[in-house]
């Protein structure tokens, strides 16, 4: 990607790091710039340390990048932790009344803001933030009007007086900076494009809504709760039934009930909640009631680090619930894909009447990305599969068989309320007509036939999903293999490696089940050196890929400290591995968040 510019804003939870973030995001996206924002925070409501990184540029910005250009520390702790991140050309805007700068690199511009002289801090508690934003806008070479518009919008018409005051405070910062600080060397460009800026959670929620989800339920759990928040806020307009349930057991079973009644029903959680939901995935598969469950992964095991990212739930998903049953598992590649994937997932899941699992992670869920609004298609193709919603001619000879044995394994499903199609769906093994074969009518042959009927769906599912494709030059020096949310950072690492003369291509896996192992091996067979990149300790994807293909990569880059990869982590690890000797690199996260 081309030139980018990154702002880092840090402070304690409750100090209002989010607001400047929102303001910058609005300003950038309205200039037609792309952006990517990532907030490193802690499981604490007030206090502690939060560090928001907003990176912007003319090209799509796929990750947080490697560098901070402008640091805005809202407290001393942030100054102490992060001043060292700034290099030549960087600047730090800080409240000189309360914060002392520490030692810094050559060429860093320290911009002390005399906050209490610029604003009445007794009246305006976030004056330091607003002044810093004004100053930043000035140094970035952006006209004040953009900022004023956003501030006014934020307060709305009702609070015009408050808006006025904040505009004035921002203006003071803007003017002070114009007079006292050196602007950044390279001003931010503009374009006519307009982007929507959204988090992965919003994208998942909107993607579900666009796919026709009519029932959403959840139990709050970081980092998935944003899906619930979007759904709850938009439920009435969107015509979606949203319920907060007593626990995750209730959530998934409520979704199954709604799905059986005939609507698309979805829920989201994180690893711990998913563990509780796992039993019911078997019910969904056995009773052949399609649902979609989203797991927004966070750092485990157990409660772990609830506000930190990880790709550590893959084996939990692969192993969720006992016995063999067909399912679909996919990991969206970026925030836009959180939206796009859902319509695809839903059509598959409805067609094959199986549970569909989406493996997102905190990085996507809580990160924010600029997305072309065209991507947010609210009228995607909807295929509900073979569903009987009215009696028509009736079931015909022999009556309706809910679990009719078919070549595809799929049996048309009638929803409650349709006359003539009454039947029982069951978690016990059953015959074609739904009658249990676990008690009275136990029968090894029927049991086998029903297992095979269900499992045959796997063929159809595999055929409906394309294998992943190698991105980049076929004859690259190194092939980086990733899955889900690492798409962007690997892509940037490849670009950086290319600058060093190392060519890299990339195989990024989005559909976990079905995997298309043979196609993957085919694509990897000429690779000069393969390295699997993943955000967990044990190489969960590497192990899974091996289980399906016997493929063993030459090297691994893993990270399990709670923070996502930055491009240089991958670049350095690849360099290290190409130099020889090393086959496992675990990059150190230098930013102390």
């Amino acid at each position: 990607m081309g030139h980018t510019f990154t702002i880092g804003i840090g402070g304690a939870a409750g100090q209002g790091v989010a607001t400047p973030g929102d303001i910058f995001a609005k300003i950038f996206s309205r200039r037609g710039l792309h952006l990517n924002a990532y907030n490193a925070y802690q499981s604490i409501i007030r206090g502690g340390h939060t560090f928001l990184t907003i990176r912007t540029g003319a090209d799509p910005v796929t990750n947080m990048g490697d560098r901070i250009d402008l640091l805005i520390p809202l407290n001393q702790d942030t100054m102490d932790r992060h001043l060292g991140l700034l290099g030549e050309g960087g600047a730090c805007l800080y409240n000189a009344d309360t914060i002392q700068p520490g030692t810094h690199a050559e060429g860093v511009q320290l911009c002390a803001l005399p906050v209490s002289t610029l604003a009445d801090i007794s009246r305006n508690k976030v004056a330091q933030n607003t002044i810093a934003i004004g100053a930043a806008i000035s140094m970035m070479g952006i006209g004040f009007q953009s900022l004023e518009d956003v501030i006014r919008e934020q307060f709305g018409r009702k609070a015009a007086a408050v808006a006025d005051e904040n505009v004035a405070v921002a203006r003071a910062g803007y003017d002070y900076a114009t007079q006292n600080f050196r602007p950044f060397a390279r001003p931010l460009p503009m374009s006519d494009n307009r982007y929507a800026v959204l988090s992965g959670n919003t994208a998942l929620a909107m993607g579900g809504a666009a796919a026709g989800v009519k029932f959403y339920c959840a139990y709050p759990m970081s980092p998935s709760t944003g899906v619930l928040h979007w759904m709850a806020t938009h439920a009435r307009e969107a015509g979606i039934m949203v319920r907060q349930v007593e626990d995750e057991l209730g959530v998934v079973n409520m979704a199954i009930g709604a799905a059986q009644a005939g609507v698309r029903a979805m829920c989201a959680t994180s690893g711990g909640g998913f563990a509780l939901m796992s039993e019911a995935l078997g019910l969904s598969a056995m009773a052949e009631i399609p649902i979609v469950v989203i797991d927004c992964q966070r750092a485990g095991p157990s409660t772990g680090v609830p506000t930190k990212t990880e790709q550590g739930d893959l084996w939990q998903m692969l192993g969720a619930a006992f016995g063999d049953y067909p399912r679909v598992i996919a990991a969206p590649l970026d925030i836009a894909d959180c939206f796009t994937l859902l319509a695809e997932m839903w059509n598959l899941v409805d067609k094959f009447q199986v549970p569909g699992l989406v493996l997102a992670d905190l990085l996507l869920s809580e990160g924010r990305l600029s997305v072309d609004p065209k991507v947010l298609d609210f009228a995607p193709h909807v295929d509900r599969g073979e569903m009987i919603t009215s009696p028509n001619g009736g079931p015909g000879e022999g009556g309706y068989k809910r679990y009719k044995i078919t070549e595809s394994g799929v049996s048309p499903r009638a929803i409650p309320g349709v006359p003539g199609y009454t039947h029982v769906v069951a978690s016990d093994e059953h015959d074609e007509d739904g009658v249990l074969i676990s008690d009275m009518f136990t029968n090894t042959h029927k049991r086998r036939a029903m297992m095979e009927k269900r499992m045959r769906k796997e063929n159809g599912i595999a055929a409906a999903v394309a294998p992943p494709k190698l991105q980049g030059p076929a004859d690259a020096d190194v092939t980086l293999i990733g899955w889900g949310s690492t798409q962007g950072v690997i892509e940037e690492a490849r670009a950086l490696l290319a600058e060093e003369g190392i060519t890299a291509n990339q195989l990024q896996v989005r559909w976990i089940v079905p995997l298309h192992g043979e196609a993957i091996v085919e694509q990897l067979k000429n690779a000069k050196r393969t390295i699997i990149v993943e955000n967990n300790y044990s190489g969960q994807f590497a192990r899974y890929l091996r289980s399906e293909t016997s493929f063993v990569a030459d090297g691994h880059i893993r990270k399990y400290d709670g923070e996502p990869f930055m491009p240089h982590h991958i670049v350095e690890a690849v360099r290290e591995q190409l130099a020889g000797g090393v086959t496992l690199s675990v990059p150190v996260h230098e930013i102390m968040v």
Binding site: R236, N253, G257, D433, L436
Partner: protein
């Protein structure tokens, strides 16, 4: 809820007869409950395709297989959330939930409490045999102290839960108790429960003739006393219901303990449903609204 929308032919018992005969033990209390439910449905003339019968796992939870309605035989303890989902997706359906004391008060206890506080409009019938039948006879949450079971061979030392008191405490708007051997009374309760708009709970003494040798038909018969027989009893009085709820021993009240009709059921309270059931709505959101959703982000 229970309005007839199709078919001129009146529903008869045979219309609710399940595809297979129940395989409960001969003499099991659950037979009486099945018959009482079928009778209530006939009396209410609800077409069988408009009824969804939902259960968990247990002997009693085999119920949906033995009645001809739409049925869901789900997971142990999870019938109520499933039923809530069904009702919220299509509140025109009549939703019955059937199961055991272990299913409902043991593993399913949390859903029990929460479905009641939400006043989900469904009828929940627990076939309470004070034992785990299907797993061949362990204590259940309603087993009395001292009861010998396979898991308490020297006698249970844990106090039981009180389903009626708990239901009252959790805000159930219709709370009753029946006895499988008094089918007419029971079927009357079930009819009222289905007619009640909101969460209806009926705890039914439904003896397990195989594993519960303490709380048998014979044990209950002389003890059960109908609340209806006391003209002074006011089922609108919550505290009076509470007082009756903990009677156990020589006199055990059955009948309707409590009903209130002043609270909206969840489907009535939920504004999203003012346009009718969720099922059958168009897949796609109105484009203008969708556009507004995107605008918000720009």
């Amino acid at each position: 809820m229970a309005t007839i929308t199709e078919g001129p032919r009146p529903m008869a018992m045979a219309d609710y007869k399940g595809r297979v005969d129940p395989d409960w033990c001969p003499g099991c209390g659950d037979y009486g409950v099945l018959a009482a439910v079928q009778k209530a449905l006939v009396e209410l003339q609800i077409p069988n395709h408009q009824v969804v019968t939902i259960s968990g796992i247990g002997c009693s939870s085999n119920f949906p297989g033995f009645i001809e309605t739409y049925g869901m035989h789900t997971l142990h303890g999870r019938a109520l959330p499933v039923a809530t989902g069904v009702k919220m997706a299509n509140h025109e359906l009549t939703v019955l939930v059937t199961g055991g004391d272990g299913d409902g008060f043991g593993i399913g206890g949390n859903h029990f409490a929460h479905a009641m506080r939400r006043n989900v409009d469904l009828t929940y019938i627990v076939m309470d045999n004070q034992i785990y039948g299907l797993t061949t006879g362990q204590t259940s949450p309603t087993s009395q102290i001292g009861m010998k079971t396979k898991s308490t061979p020297f006698g249970n030392v844990e106090g039981p839960i009180h389903p009626i008191a708990s239901a009252l405490a959790c805000g159930a708007t219709f709370v009753a108790r029946g006895f499988s051997a008094d089918q007419k009374h029971l079927s009357g309760l079930i009819r009222q429960a289905i007619e009640h708009k909101g969460f209806s709970f009926i705890d039914v003494f439904s003896p397990c003739v195989t594993y519960n040798k303490d709380n048998t038909f014979q044990w209950f018969r002389p003890r059960v006393k109908k609340l209806e027989d006391d003209p002074a009893y006011d089922s609108g009085d919550w505290l009076a219901a509470m007082e009756k709820s903990i009677l156990w021993g020589e006199e055990i009240p059955i009948g309707k303990f409590f009903e209130r009709t002043d609270l909206p059921s969840l489907d009535e309270a939920e504004p999203v449903l003012k346009d009718g059931p969720m099922v059958g709505r168009p897949d796609h959101i109105d484009p203008a609204i969708a556009r507004a959703f995107i605008e918000e982000l720009m």
